[in-house]
């Protein structure tokens, strides 16, 4: 047993095995994402009662908060696999780190836009220089920097390693930005916005939120499988097993 798991992980590290694994996992992950998404959206948009303060506007929470969590979760995943890629030079870790970046950037973008759409009716402004919002914006710039650096290199594996290094620097940077903007806000004493006025959420609002959180997690797994599989095909273009796939899909 103790030997079996490392062996399986080792095998998974080989591109053809991972490709097949990703192809098998993806439909399941996508199915679960859709299932939890439908349940969560039905619960959030239809079943949950309107908020006593915010009316129906609070329903943006069911996509805003899961996206915000995902924007940080995906960054952590990117940092960890980037670290693995730098230390052990595993090709698959490079692929996972670099293919996570666009998904994370997408979730960060969603968070910023939905937060701004939520902020307009609630605080009367699209944007405020609060620590949370500024950190999220900085996170988007970090994602864009990582993607940009990755594509600036001619050699893709070298680009992946350089961008992984940048991602790790970013992990240190985000808490510093959060802290310094907090300090800055107390200095300027601007409009202090209480983002989450009531922390105790009734159960009928909480369970759709949890369902949506699960949905976004599964969505990330599915999207990562698709992206990583595609990227492996591009990296391994000269190998026989990729040629077979190319010929098999010629008719389609």
């Amino acid at each position: 047993m103790s030997k079996w798991i490392p062996l399986w992980l080792h095998k998974l590290g080989s591109p053809p095995t991972f490709y097949r694994f990703a192809r098998t996992v993806r439909p399941w992950a996508m199915g679960l994402a859709l299932l939890f998404g439908v349940i969560g959206l039905y619960g959030g948009l239809v079943l949950a009662p309107p908020d006593y303060q915010q009316g129906d506007a609070y329903r943006i929470i069911f996509i805003h908060v899961p996206s915000a969590w995902m924007s940080m979760f995906v960054y952590a995943m990117m940092g960890v696999s980037g670290f693995v890629a730098l230390v052990w030079r595993i090709k698959l870790a490079e692929v996972v780190a670099m293919e996570s970046a666009p998904i994370g950037a997408a979730f960060t973008f969603i968070t910023l836009v939905t937060g701004s759409l939520w902020g307009k009716p609630m605080w009367g402004t699209w944007w405020t220089w609060d620590a949370r919002l500024t950190s999220e914006l900085v996170l988007l710039f970090l994602y864009l920097g990582v993607i940009g650096l990755y594509h600036a290199f001619e050699d893709r594996r070298q680009g992946a390693r350089a961008a992984s290094f940048l991602a790790i620097i970013g992990i240190i940077n985000v808490p510093i930005v959060h802290y310094s903007v907090d300090w800055w806000n107390t200095l300027h004493q601007g409009t202090t916005v209480n983002l989450f006025g009531h922390s105790k959420m009734p159960w009928e609002m909480l369970w759709p939120l949890l369902a949506m959180t699960l949905a976004t997690k599964f969505y990330y797994a599915a999207s990562l499988c698709r992206r990583a599989g595609t990227d492996i095909l591009a990296l391994e273009g000269g190998k026989d097993w990729v040629r077979e796939i190319a010929q098999a899909e010629a008719g389609r």
Binding site: L86, T134, V138, F141, L142, L144, G145, G148, L149, A152, F153, E154, D155, Q158, G159, R161, A162, F165, L166, I169, G170, N173, I176, V177, Y179, S180, V181, W183, W184, L187, H188
Partner: protein, 227 residues
């Protein structure tokens, strides 16, 4: 046979300063840029004294930062072109220390002239005199910090086609805290509040960066040049 460390460091510094001196026209570029930007602000906002006084510290800080960004791109450029950076990577002396010397030389040649004209720019924007020491001290701490942070990013892009835009995108998240604390010190001094805390934070960050940044820079360069 390798030279002892202090001599190697001195030779590195002397070489970079000599090279910079031979192209002193390039050195004037960031200074000229900062002057132009600072001069344009009053024209754009009007010569209202109170308004200019309020924004002077921030404008000078951002101007100096942008001028440094302009020069950052060229930190290792000529060394990559003539291959001396690869020689440096292979040299027996510790790479981090040598890169630290290069960063120091770069700071002396680009940031020091900016520091000299910063009081002039601040004076043109009517920064109140009591805030001037805070501004100078903040700049004195913030500019080496930016050089050190920028050097890591420049090293990361060493193997790529030159792209200043990418460098700016990568530097923005890193320089947000630096700008906040530097501008915070100036703002606090202007309002007559104690401005020791932000300066202390900047100094702490600078000490950390002096130790860590050359090491990170060396690691980044090894990644970017490893073919």
């Amino acid at each position: 046979m390798s030279a002892p460390l202090p001599q190697a460091c001195a030779a590195m510094l002397r070489r970079d300063l000599t090279l910079a001196w031979r192209r002193r026209g390039d050195l004037a570029m960031p200074v000229l840029y900062a002057v132009i930007v600072a001069v344009l602000f009053p024209f754009a906002l009007g010569p209202d004294l109170a308004l200019l006084q309020r924004i002077a510290g921030g404008v000078v800080l951002v101007t100096v930062l942008l001028a440094m960004l302009l020069a950052l791109d060229g930190m290792f450029a000529s060394d990559i072109e003539d291959g001396s950076l690869e020689q440096l990577v292979l040299a027996p002396q510790p790479l981090a220390l040598m890169l630290g010397m290069k960063i120091l030389a770069h700071w002396i040649t680009t940031a020091l002239p900016l520091l000299v004209i910063a009081p002039l720019l601040a004076g043109m924007l009517h920064l109140p005199l009591p805030a001037m020491p805070a501004l100078l001290l903040a700049l004195l701490l913030a500019t080496p910090l930016l050089s050190l942070l920028g050097a890591v990013l420049v090293a990361l892009t060493a193997g790529t086609r030159r792209s200043g835009m990418l460098l700016a995108l990568m530097l923005l998240p890193l320089c947000v805290p630096v700008v906040i604390f530097a501008a915070g010190a100036v703002a606090a001094a202007q309002e007559g509040l104690p401005w020791f805390a932000p300066v202390a934070w900047l100094s702490a960050a600078l000490v950390l960066a002096v130790v860590l940044s050359p090491l990170a820079c060396a690691a980044a360069l090894r990644i970017a040049l490893d073919a």
